[in-house]
Structures are given as structure tokens and as C-alpha cells.
């Protein structure tokens, strides 16, 4: 009794898998018919598969599935024979039928019995049948006499089904089924089939034959995923042993035979590992194809016209990952269809194509798979999102006004956010995009969004190729090794007490913080978190060396103090027993090269346990600058400034980068050359300037220290040194380089920076020197030099205050320019076409940008049009614009100048480009000053 049950079980699960597979095929084929019209082969395939389902279902005694399949088969028969065309109604019915069938199959899978299916489906069944009946009745005029008789049969079977007497219905169906088969399927080549007329074998033989016809090239067998998993584990173990063996070989290299063997074992193991990995890979098309159905249904329901464009369907992903992205993807697609795409008449009004396009693309990029969901709908509305977020209390109203478009767009991923004003049954199902985000991040992926109002939205998912292998950093704490996923890692810092860097750990209300480039970074100790260390063992502030791992927990940065940083390795993450997940700080475990188990750190969990996430959410609302949206913004755009006292109540500061030295001189050392105060310094005269004098401020800066010395800040400009007289050198601090330039009442002031309730005025020291140089010419300098100050590396300081907008369509050049200019010290923003560039320009304050660099050839809006638009605008018409190009014909340059470009620069000559830009700024500055 035992054995047959076991066998039946295997057969049953095989049957279920097969049904599932066939339903997927059917769905794909139906979609193709709908798109490309009916072609004979596809129709035949659909018919064949429906028939197979019918046959096997009846074999297992699942009469409902069998009958359903039979109904659909009957409906399809006239279509297949070319007697009628595939109507939309019929397609709808077949789709509906397939849905029921799927439910039934699910029921079998879950409960092993068809009869266990809940009653509602039972009720739906006759409804579907009546739809089918109607569709057939509707088709009557088109049918020949022969089909009329079939129709009668179909009525027969359906009515008997309504009577819910399964046995008789089954008999009935069988009969009618074979009546249909009197006339053999036109497309199926059946001559080989021995014409056994016995009623029972015929469908079975058909089945077998059809499967073999299906796909003659690829021979496949079905394998349990668990077998693949254990195979993977074993290979992993093999790799470990291989590693140990190789280690052993290194120390015993006198035995050449052994060396050779271990080499071969090494190569083979690597190959084996590779192949085993492949077995788990599946094309993403498997889930992409599912969406053709979704798009069809949803567009029908919403009365929208949407075309689905699938690209890169053969991109392969690990099966587990594929499963994990399925739901988030579905959610994004439904969202795009529901909220993104406009109704047909709205699209018409906007002059868009009536049929919207939803594009799903998958491709490989640097060891990851990128999935993009692109719609050409209405895009994300800043106002709508902002309004909603404010209304829901996610952000404060004044915070919203300060947020960039990107930040506003990212709000849709916040928990508790949903823009749909009315909850529809398409996307508003109580789960928001935040779930999408958490789910993608759970598998180590990243979600990004890009939306242009009126043009559509792109959601980009970056997914690791395989869940199994993750690059990680191995650290030590409390004598144990832990792995931290690289994706959460920002940087590593080593602080030595002996070296006097500006970075040190301080205590803030008893909690350690690190001053890192002017920002406070909360510090937590890993061993403290993990071992509940007692007071005296708490992170002490006077350790000799700290190893700090700076981590990004969903936008909150914090430093994790570890005992040691070991190595960066690829690890295979194994899941922990479910009850261990409640500890929160561990996301899994991994087996290290030496066979020991190490726990992987859950960065989010650590930040939660340490109470970091909660703290930062508050600051998020109050100070926008405190939440870096990306690592790059966190790292760059900071500069050191020298805080000086010039006798005023406010703090003044000079960017540290321009400062050459800080000296102190006795009052007696000052001399005068004419009216110019000078000092003999390093074999030449150092002209001394006073800031209040230059700025026309009513302060005196010639105050001396107690010891009668005056501090002088020595600035190098070009080849010459200049001294700035100050009362006191106060401090060197790091500030965000986002200098507020809105209040600049006089030349010589660059702008202000707010630092923790303190306002600091940044002095435009180089501009000041440039102006004063005119005066100094009297003191004996060649006029040539003043006109064109030499450009040296020290100019970086002045570059730092200049923001350049780079408009370039090629992403390669965009990045190249960005890196080049940022490397030179400029602040850079980029746009990928004229339109985007102009939008960025319009959205920024008047003096935000100092220069536009633009390509000429670009989609949407080219460089010439951009130049014309900029020149036409009120606020930006004086902004210098340079064309960056590889085309240098006189005609081109002429045209560019006409459009409003001031210069033509060569794209590929990096050194010259930077020099040219420096020159442009210098010229502009001199012009300004002389004017």
C-alpha cells in the first residue's frame, strides 16, 4: 500500500508541475496571438496543450480541471480549423478559464484533492461555462453544420456539470471529447501514432507525442530545487577543501606530482562550481512573460491602451532571486499602469501617442542585473507627492520646499505613502512602494527612481546575480569574526591617537561621536552591542587605535568600531534558523575559508539596536543637509575653512585651500612702501592687506596678540604671496561647500555658511587679491601678470566655489567631464540633454552656476537651442557658456557663437579643457571687477 501511494505522489507532483508549465506556455502563446494575430502553429500549440491538460487531468481523476480544459478546447477547435477568427471575447474567456484552472491546480497542490476546493470557485465555474456558451452562440452564424453539432455537445456537458454529478459529467465529457477528435487535428503530425482506436489510450499517446514535439532541441529533466541546493552546498564544501589543499601545497612544493594533481583539482573544482551555479540560473523572461497577461488585464480594466515591450528576457538570474523580485516587480508594474499611464483621452489631449508603452528591460552591469521598468506616462508630480507627504506627516512643509526633485521622488518609497487619491484594486492594496524597497533591499538590491513630469517614470532595480554570493568585509570584535556586506559599507577609518589628525572620537552627552570632515558621525562599538559590555568595558575614548567601519543604514550613516579589519572576501550567505532572526543584528551566517562559521551583520539591525535610526529620522525632517542621499554627496562637497577674527562680531573665514602659511610678525617688522603696508618675507616683500579695509567695514584688524605679535595669513596667488592681517586665527573647521550666496552685499564676500546656528562669512580672498593687484602694479609688477594670473594648483580653492553645469548626452563623456572637473576642484552638476539642463538651470538660484558646458549634438534639445534659451532667459543670460565638442569647423563655431556660446572647448584634451575653463573664470572676474 505504501509504495503505490509514494509513486502516485511523485506522479502527481509531476502532473502539477506539468500543468503549471503548460499554463505558462498557454499564457505566452495567447499573448503572442493577441499581439501578432492568430497563426496556425501557435493556435495548434495552444490546442495541443489544452488537450494534454485535459488528458492528464482526467487520468488523475480531476474531472473539474479536465472538463474546464475540455470546454476551452471545444471553444478553440473552430478557431484552430480556421473556421472562425480568434475574437477578443473568446480570448477573455480562455484567460478567465485558465485562471480557474490555476486555482483548481493550486487546490490540488495544497490539499491533494480537487474536492477540497472552496465553494466560491465551484460557483464561478458554471458562470464561466455560461460565458463560453454565449460566446459560442454568438459565433453561430459563422459556423458550419459540423460545428453546430459540436456546440450541442458542449451544451450537453455544461448542463450536466451544472447538475454537479461529477461521474456523469466526466463520462459525458469523455464522449464529447472523442466526438471532437473524430476529425484529427490538422496541425499535429500524427501518422506515426498507431491507430489504436481504444478510447483510453488515445489521449495518453497524444500527450506523449506532443511533449516530444514541443521542443526537440533542448533535452531537459526536472530536478528538485532542494537537490540543486544541496549540490551547491557540497560544491561549496569542496571549494573549502580545495582551498585548504592549496594552502597545504604551498608549504609542500617539493612533490611535483602532488603539485600537479592539486592544480588540476583546483581547475576542476572551479569549473564544477561554475556549472553548478548555472543550474540555478533562470532567464528573467520567465517572470517577464507573466506581465503580458497583467498588462492586458489591467489595461482592459482601466480602459487604457498599453503596449508591453520586453527586452533582455534571456538575462539570467538565480532562481531564488527571481522568486524574490517577482512580487516587487508586479507591484511596480501595476503602479505604473495604474498611476503612471494616463487614460487615452488625456494622452490625446497632451499630444502623446494613444497607446502607452511600458518597457521592461533587464541587462547585466558590473556583476549585477539591472531591471528597468519604464513607462511613458505622466511622471511623478512634485506637488502631489509633496502635498501627500506633508499631509501624512512624513515631512514638514518647509522641508519640502527645500528638497530637490530627486528627494521628493524618493519619498514614494517612504513607509505609509500612497498617492492614489482613491484606492483602486489595481495598486492600492495597502502595501506601498516601501514594501517594494524593503523587499529588494532584503536580497541586497537597490531601488532607484527617475521621473520627468509629463514624460514618464523609470524605476531601476539593481539586483545581485545570485543571493548566494555576496562581497563582504570581515571584521573582528570580541575575538569573533563577522562579515559585513559591502553594499552597506561607505568607508574605513583608522584613527591613531598619536597622529594629530582632525579626526578624533569625542564624547557627546556620554555618547561617542566622530568629527569626520566637519560632520558628526555617531559611533557605536560592535563588541558593546554584541556583548552588553559593562560600564567599565564600554568604548573608552582613549584607545590608541580605533578601526571604524562607516556604514550606511538606509541613508543614516554611522561608524562601527571593531577590533580589527581583516579582509574583503566573497562569502556564501546561509540563512539562520528563523528564531535567530529575532536577534536582529545578524542577517545570516557564512562558512569561512578555514571552515569556521561567521555571522553576517545586519547593518539595519545594528542601527536599530543602537537607536541610531530613530535619532536620525528626526534630524531628517529638520535639516536636509544632514541626510546625504548618496555616498558621493556625503564624501565630497566639503571643504575646510580657516576661521579668523577680524575684529567683527561675526565669524569670517578663508577657504583653507588658498592659505599657504600662517605666520606671526612683530609690530616692529611692518614697513610701508608708499601707502602699502609690507613686510620683508623670504627675500621678497609681502604686501599686507587688511580685510576690514578692503571690505569697507568699520573694524580694526591691526590688533596685536598679548605678546605683541600680529598673525598674518599668507596667501599664494599665481607666483606671488600676499599677507592678510587678522586679529586672531581661531580654528580650522570643515563645512559643507554649499555656500549660501544669497546675501553678498559687497565684492570680496563669497557668501555665508551656517554651521550649527553660527553664521560664517566666507571671504572671496582671491577675488580681493585680484582687485588689489591693480593697485599693486604701482609697487612694481608687470601688467601682464595681473591680466592673466598664472594658473597653479592652488587655484583649486577658487574652483571650489564655482559650480559648472555639464550638459552631455553620452554617459561616458558625462562621467568623464564630471570626474575631470571634480578632480580639478570644481563643483559639477550634470544633465543629459538640453531640456534637462535648462530645467536644472531654471530651478536653481541666479548665481548657482558659474558656467555651462554643453555638448552640441543631443537628443530632445540640442546645445544650440539650449544656448538660445539661456540667452533668452532673464536670470541667466550673462552666464558664460562653452560648447564642448569634437567638431571644430569654422561654420560650427560661427553657428555656436550666434546661438550664444562664448567659447568652444575641446572635449578630449583634458588638461587644456581645465586650463581654458580657469581662464574663462579669470577673465570673467577681471571684467567684473573692472566694470
Amino acid at each position: 500500500m505504501n509504495m503505490p501511494t509514494e509513486m502516485k505522489k511523485t506522479a502527481l507532483s509531476e502532473y502539477l508541475d506539468e500543468c503549471q508549465e503548460m499554463l505558462e506556455h498557454l499564457s505566452k502563446n495567447l499573448a503572442s496571438i493577441e499581439k501578432n494575430g492568430s497563426d496556425k502553429d501557435t493556435l495548434a500549440a495552444i490546442y495541443r496543450e489544452m488537450h494534454t491538460i485535459k488528458g492528464t487531468s482526467q487520468l488523475f481523476g480531476f474531472s473539474k480541471i479536465g472538463n474546464l480544459a475540455h470546454m476551452m478546447e471545444t471553444c478553440l477547435d473552430p478557431v484552430r480549423k480556421g473556421k472562425i477568427n480568434m475574437s477578443h471575447e473568446l480570448l477573455d474567456n480562455i484567460y478567465a478559464g485558465m485562471d480557474f484552472m490555476e486555482l483548481l491546480i493550486q487546490g490540488v497542490r495544497d490539499k491533494n484533492q480537487e474536492s477540497d476546493i472552496p465553494i466560491p470557485i465551484e460557483k464561478l465555474l458554471p458562470k464561466f461555462i455560461s460565458i463560453t456558451e454565449r460566446s459560442l452562440t454568438g459565433l453561430r452564424p459563422l459556423m458550419s453544420d459540423k460545428i453546430l453539432s459540436q456546440q450541442k455537445i458542449s451544451f450537453d456537458s455544461s448542463s450536466s456539470k451544472k447538475g454537479t454529478t461529477p461521474v456523469s459529467s466526466e463520462n459525458n465529457t469523455k464522449n464529447s471529447g472523442f466526438e471532437l477528435f473524430e476529425d484529427p487535428p490538422a496541425q499535429t503530425p500524427t501518422p506515426i501514432t498507431p491507430a489504436k482506436a481504444t478510447v483510453d489510450t488515445k489521449p495518453k499517446l497524444e500527450t506523449i507525442q506532443k511533449i516530444s514535439i514541443e521542443d526537440p532541441q533542448s533535452e531537459t529533466i526536472r530536478v528538485q530545487v532542494s537537490i540543486l541546493d544541496s549540490l551547491m552546498n557540497l560544491v561549496g564544501e569542496l571549494v573549502l577543501i580545495r582551498n585548504q589543499l592549496l594552502q597545504h601545497t604551498k608549504s609542500n612544493d617539493e612533490n611535483t606530482e602532488f603539485l600537479k594533481l592539486s592544480q588540476r583539482l583546483n581547475i576542476l573544482t572551479a569549473e564544477l562550481q561554475n556549472e553548478v551555479m548555472k543550474t540555478r540560473m533562470q532567464p528573467i523572461g520567465n517572470i517577464f512573460n507573466m506581465f503580458s497577461r497583467v498588462v492586458r488585464d489591467v489595461s482592459k480594466e482601466l480602459g487604457k491602451k498599453i503596449d508591453l515591450d520586453l527586452q533582455g528576457t534571456d538575462t539570467e538570474l538565480d532562481k531564488t532571486i527571481l522568486e524574490a523580485v517577482k512580487d516587487p516587480l508586479m507591484h511596480i508594474v501595476r503602479n505604473a499602469l495604474d498611476h503612471g499611464v494616463e487614460p487615452v483621452d488625456e494622452r490625446k489631449k497632451l499630444g502623446k501617442k494613444e497607446i502607452a508603452i511600458l518597457k521592461l528591460t533587464a541587462y547585466h552591469e558590473s556583476g549585477q542585473v539591472i531591471i528597468e521598468i519604464i513607462d511613458d506616462g505622466r511622471g511623478l508630480s512634485r506637488e502631489k507627492i509633496g502635498g501627500k507627504a506633508v499631509e501624512k506627516g512624513l515631512i514638514a512643509a518647509d522641508t519640502f520646499s527645500k528638497m530637490t526633485d530627486k528627494e521628493v521622488q524618493l519619498l514614494i518609497f517612504s513607509p505609509g505613502f500612497s498617492t492614489a487619491s482613491a484606492i483602486s484594486n489595481i495598486s492600492g492594496r495597502g502595501v506601498g512602494m516601501d514594501v517594494v524597497k524593503t523587499n529588494i533591499e532584503r536580497i541586497g538590491g537597490v531601488v532607484d527612481i527617475l521621473s520627468k513630469p509629463g514624460y514618464g517614470t523609470t524605476i531601476k532595480l539593481k539586483i545581485p546575480l545570485s543571493l548566494a554570493i555576496v562581497p563582504a568585509l570581515i571584521v573582528r570584535a570580541g575575538g569573533q569574526r563577522f562579515a559585513i556586506p559591502q553594499t552597506k559599507l561607505v568607508e574605513l577609518i583608522r584613527i591613531e591617537k598619536s597622529s594629530s589628525t582632525s579626526e578624533k572620537i569625542e564624547s557627546l552627552q556620554g555618547k561617542p561621536v566622530l568629527r569626520l570632515r566637519g560632520k558628526l558621525l555617531p559611533i557605536v562599538s560592535l563588541s558593546e552591542i554584541l556583548h552588553h559590555e559593562t560600564e567599565e568595558k564600554k568604548l573608552s575614548l582613549d584607545e590608541e587605535i580605533y578601526n571604524i567601519v562607516v556604514l550606511n543604514a538606509d541613508g543614516h550613516f554611522f561608524g562601527l568600531v571593531v577590533d580589527a579589519i581583516d579582509d574583503s572576501v566573497d562569502i556564501v550567505v546561509k540563512s539562520l534558523s528563523s528564531f535567530l532572526k529575532d536577534i536582529k543584528v545578524f542577517s545570516g551566517a557564512t562558512i569561512m575559508g578555514d571552515g569556521a562559521v561567521a555571522l553576517t551583520i545586519d547593518v539595519m539591525g545594528i542601527s536599530e539596536i543602537a537607536g541610531l535610526a530613530a535619532d536620525n529620522t528626526d534630524t531628517r525632517a529638520s535639516a536636509r543637509e544632514e541626510i546625504p542621499t548618496s555616498i558621493s554627496s556625503y564624501r565630497s562637497e566639503n571643504c575646510d575653512i580657516l576661521l579668523i577674527n577680524i575684529g567683527a562680531a561675526e565669524s569670517y573665514a578663508i577657504p583653507l585651500a588658498v592659505v599657504s602659511r600662517i605666520e606671526e610678525f612683530d609690530a616692529s617688522q611692518f614697513e610701508h612702501s608708499g601707502e602699502q603696508k609690507v613686510i620683508r618675507y623670504r627675500n621678497s616683500l609681502l604686501p599686507i592687506f587688511s580685510l576690514p579695509n578692503f571690505l569697507n567695514l568699520p573694524f580694526k584688524s591691526e590688533k596685536q596678540n598679548q605678546d605683541g605679535k600680529t598673525p598674518i595669513v599668507v596667501i599664494k596667488r599665481g607666483d606671488h604671496l600676499y599677507g592678510i592681517e587678522v586679529c586672531e586665527i581661531q580654528d580650522i573647521i570643515e563645512v559643507s561647500s554649499q555656500i549660501d550666496q544669497s546675501v553678498r552685499d559687497r565684492p570680496g564676500i563669497l557668501g555665508t555658511v551656517i554651521l550649527k546656528d553660527r553664521m560664517i562669512v566666507i571671504v572671496d580672498i582671491l577675488g580681493m587679491i585680484d582687485t588689489l593687484q591693480v593697485k599693486l602694479d604701482i609697487v612694481g609688477r608687470t601688467p601682464k601678470e595681473t591680466g592673466k594670473p598664472a594658473i597653479t594648483s592652488k587655484n583649486i580653492a577658487s574652483r571650489r566655489q564655482r559650480r559648472i553645469l555639464v550638459v552631455e548626452d553620452s554617459s561616458f563623456f558625462r562621467n568623464y567631464m564630471r570626474q575631470l572637473l571634480q578632480g580639478a576642484g570644481y563643483l559639477v552638476e550634470v544633465a543629459c540633454d538640453g531640456q534637462e539642463g535648462f530645467a536644472q538651470l531654471s530651478n536653481s538660484p541666479a548665481n548657482h552656476f558659474s558656467l555651462i558646458l554643453s555638448d552640441i549634438e543631443m537628443p530632445v534639445m540640442d546645445g544650440l537651442e539650449l544656448a538660445r534659451k539661456v540667452r533668452a532667459s532673464e536670470t541667466h543670460k550673462h552666464l558664460p557658456m562653452c560648447a564642448i565638442t569634437t567638431r571644430f569647423s569654422t561654420n560650427d563655431i560661427e553657428q555656436g557663437k550666434l546661438a550664444g556660446f562664448t567659447n568652444y572647448l575641446e572635449k578630449l584634451n583634458a588638461e587644456k579643457l581645465v586650463m581654458d575653463i580657469d581662464e574663462i573664470f579669470c577673465n570673467a572676474q577681471t571684467q567684473e571687477k573692472s566694470a
Binding site: 557540497l234 569573533q480 534558523s577 535567530l580 551566517a589 562559521v597 555571522l599
Partner: protein, 162 residues
């Protein structure tokens, strides 16, 4: 290194029936004899390198590498509220419950004992609740009393408690 639980082909359904005899893999914790249905035991391994899990309850002893699979070691002494042993050596009785591997840390491993359903008795109510809740009952064997452990309950307890 490793001792496979010797081949037994008693299925669960047979063990449940009162007429049948059932086999238990026995082990000793704090000088007491316990048993787990032999079919539940995947393998028995001698002490292995263990990675402790910070923040986990005391009875979660750590993680062990079982040929590429990670098993969670549960100390039965700690789970049953018995005093900790000073011994360095443990034996791991590895069971698979709900898809994850649990390794029960015991002092010593015993034989596989075949018992008859007639010798079964419910756990007396005088046994402290801390241990009684993990027991399915008592088998009276010739020279000792065998307390049988409910692995499912341990798994449920772990997931619920934590």
C-alpha cells in the same frame, strides 16, 4: 569524525501505532537518559568548532559547520535549566526540524534502544515543568527510565520564545 545514526527503517506511522515497537536514539544529559525517535535524528557528531551567537539566549550555544550547512546548536542542559557542565567535549545530535538544522548538545551518546508501546507511560506531573514540557513520555526499560524528547516542541519553543 562522524557517526551516522545506524540504519533504521522504522517509519513514523509505525512508531505511532500501539502494537509496534519503536526505536529511540538515546543520549545522556546530566546523568539522565533521554531519547529521540531515531527517524528524527539526521546524524550524531562529536564536538565541533562552534561560533557563539552574541545576544542569543544561553541555550543557543552557537553555530556549527555541518559539511557546508549551518546548524544551530542548542544546549539541552541550558534548555532544561540544568546546571552547566564543566566538560569541554559535547556530542551533537543533529535533527532537521522545519527545514533548519538543529543540533542538540548532549553529554554522551547512548545506543539505539527499541522499546515497546506497552512500556510507555505519560510523564508524571511531579516532573518540573521546565523539563516536562519537552517530553513526550516515559518508557520503562529494563535497567532505566527513558525520557523521550519532542523535537518538534523544542523547535516550536525556540521560535515562540525568542
Amino acid at each position: 569524525m562522524r557517526e551516522e545514526s545506524s540504519g533504521s527503517v522504522v517509519t513514523r506511522s509505525e512508531a505511532k501505532s500501539t502494537q509496534q515497537r519503536s526505536q529511540f536514539s538515546t543520549f545522556i544529559v546530566a546523568n539522565r537518559l533521554y531519547g529521540i525517535e531515531v527517524t528524527r535524528v539526521q546524524e550524531v557528531v562529536r564536538s565541533m568548532v562552534m561560533t557563539p551567537i552574541p545576544l542569543a539566549p544561553e541555550y543557543v550555544r552557537g553555530l556549527i559547520n555541518l559539511r557546508g550547512q549551518v546548524a544551530t546548536a542548542i544546549g539541552l542542559r541550558q534548555l532544561f535549566g540544568l546546571e552547566n557542565s564543566s566538560a569541554e567535549e559535547f556530542v551533537n545530535v543533529v535533527c532537521k526540524v522545519d527545514g533548519s538544522l538543529i543540533s542538540l548538545q548532549v553529554d554522551e551518546i547512548g545506543d539505539v534502544i527499541e522499546v515497546s508501546q506497552a512500556d510507555y507511560e505519560q510523564t508524571p506531573s511531579t516532573i518540573p515543568e521546565e523539563i516536562r514540557r519537552f517530553m513526550t513520555g516515559i518508557y520503562k526499560i529494563s535497567d532505566a527510565l527513558l525520557s523521550t524528547i519532542d523535537v518538534e516542541y523544542i523547535s516550536k519553543f525556540l521560535n515562540h520564545k525568542l
